[in-house]
């Protein structure tokens, strides 16, 4: 897929087909693409399979996934946790599970990382310790248990879980800045680099474009996603609202959302104000 030279949010949203698998991030860094999520809701995207990397359980990341669930954009989610962090449960997530309208593939955080790392390397699967004896494993027929094939001779049985690689169709995230070449700076947060490596299409919003290129400064280069991995980049100041670039979050804004989203009617009103339209049918 190709993108215009200076894409808008709607251009980015158009690159997310119905039914796509999409990675989103955990929201302890200013990685939450709320403005893009709003554009996706406006476009009326349907049937997404969202993979949270590895959770959406900070206030802003939980709110983003909850909004997309409530707006009817998500058919299934693979996650290790969805909540509004210390503010409490994510209301639309809870309601959708109860109503049976959302399929949940329950995971554990290192399993999401291991599967994406395998996907990023083009390997078919990744082994992972733990898991054995859990109901997570029992309900994941795609996860297998094998006997460690490289154990020392005579060491006895050593069962270990193996997880199929994850390659999302699309990675979406926000970042503080991109340079003139379109390289994206994410600091020490390697999760966005991992998502970019593992996904086929990478859509990024940034607060600003700055002149020059980050590779001129080794300190910045270490925290940079090369432009070659980015499919499309839109400049959206405040695109990670209610997060701020220092990693903080406007908790009152999330509380207002949480309060509204407790009921179907309250959510519909909130969504109409949020995206400027009624809930798509």
């Amino acid at each position: 897929m190709t993108a215009p030279h200076s894409p808008t949010l709607d251009d980015l949203a158009a690159l997310v087909p119905d039914g796509a698998s999409v990675t989103v991030h955990k929201g302890d860094e200013p990685d939450v693409p709320m403005a893009l999520a709003k554009a996706l809701i406006r476009r009326g995207v349907r049937g997404l399979h969202v993979i949270t990397l590895p959770t959406a359980a900070y206030p802003a990341s939980g709110m983003l996934v909850d909004l997309l669930i409530g707006a009817g954009c998500i058919a299934s989610v693979e996650t290790s946790g969805i909540s509004l962090h210390e503010l409490g449960p994510a209301p639309r997530f809870s309601a959708a599970v109860k109503a049976g309208t959302l399929k949940v593939l329950d995971a554990t955080c290192p399993a999401v990382y291991a599967a994406l790392q395998a996907g990023a390397k083009g390997q078919p699967f990744a082994p992972l310790r733990g898991l054995i004896g859990s109901d997570l494993l029992r309900h994941r027929p795609d996860w297998k248990v094998i006997d460690n094939p490289v154990a020392a001779p005579g060491a006895g049985p050593d069962p270990i879980a193996v997880l199929p690689a994850l390659n999302a169709d699309v990675a979406i995230f926000h970042a503080a800045k991109a340079d003139a070449e379109g390289n994206v700076w994410v600091g020490r947060d390697r999760d966005r680099l991992l998502a970019a490596h593992a996904a086929d299409t990478v859509l990024v919003t940034v607060d600003e474009r700055v002149p020059g290129h980050f590779f001129a400064d080794p300190a910045l280069a270490a925290g940079t996603i090369p432009a070659a991995l980015i499919t499309a980049l839109a400049v959206v100041p405040g695109g990670c609202w209610p997060m701020t670039l220092d990693g903080g979050c406007d908790l009152d804004a999330v509380r207002r959302y949480q309060q509204a989203a407790r009921t179907d009617e309250g959510f519909a009103d909130y969504l109409a104000g949020f995206v400027g339209t009624a809930v798509p049918a």
């Binding site: 590895p54 599970v97 949940v104 554990t108």
Partner: protein
């Protein structure tokens, strides 16, 4: 201000957690864990005063108390190598075999009550040597005979790689010790103001009771000063609502 006031329950729990972390080199604090975070930060403050190696604390979600540079996977990579000594896990349900359930009640996946998810439990419970379980609501709906969904099992069959596991369970009524060989909890102490009958009434699983049952120590003046000073200021970065409620720390919305 909270200076000079008696210890609040949260301060008793945090101080108890600091005791459970004695001698730990590296402790990590996961999601939705403000009191464990306060306990870990208290343990670090105490470690600097005893001439011992300073306890390293990593709090997920913190910029200030996070020395990771390889993304969210780094915690799990370190834990897999035995480099995380202690961690905290909770559960919507915890049973007498120390199985924890972070997913929901009833028959999965049609859970009548759905919780947020299993987070790192199904891995960290296996590989971190000192896992401290916490569940502040001590009731028959939280401490059950058998959990409805095993996010992570308390014990593993022989042959399964399992260097880690639980050491204790702390609630709003008491502290239990986990007896690894017996596979049962032992009531270790009652929190101030609570009774054995109350614990028996509110616990859905069988547990052992020692002949002499002490009261959980309340933090002394020195610990309270640490909790209400540096610890309160530090935990407010990640848990502003908690810090305001317990310690009266107000943080501006950034």
């Amino acid at each position: 201000m909270t200076d000079g006031q008696p210890a609040r329950p949260e301060e008793v729990y945090a101080s108890t957690i600091a005791d459970l972390l004695a001698g730990v080199r590296r402790v990590a604090v996961g999601m939705l864990s403000p009191i464990p975070g306060a306990g870990a930060l208290l343990a670090r403050e105490l470690s600097t005063q005893g001439g011992l190696p300073r306890t390293q604390v990593t709090i997920l979600g913190s910029q200030a108390h996070n020395r990771f540079t390889n993304g969210g996977a780094e915690l799990f990579d370190l834990a897999g190598r035995g480099r995380i000594d202690a961690f905290f896990l909770s559960g919507g349900q915890i049973d007498g075999a120390a199985n924890i359930n972070l997913v929901g009640t009833g028959d999965y996946p049609a859970t009548p009550v759905r919780w947020s998810g299993s987070f790192g439990s199904a891995y960290l419970y296996f590989v971190v040597p000192r896992v401290i379980l916490f569940r502040w609501e001590h009731s028959r709906r939280t401490l059950v005979d058998a959990v409805d969904f095993i996010s992570a099992p308390g014990r593993s069959e022989a042959g399964v790689h399992r260097p880690g596991g639980p050491i204790a369970l702390i609630t709003n009524l008491c502290l239990f010790r986990w007896q690894k060989e017996a596979g049962r909890f032992l009531l270790q102490s009652l929190h101030p103001g609570h009774t054995l009958d109350e614990v028996r009434d509110q616990t859905g699983f069988d547990f052992d009771v020692p002949a002499v049952l002490p009261v959980t120590p309340s933090p002394d003046a020195r610990r309270l000063a640490l909790l209400r000073g540096p610890v309160a200021a530090q935990i407010a970065e990640v848990y502003p609502a908690f810090a305001q409620q317990v310690f009266g720390v107000s943080t501006p919305v950034s």
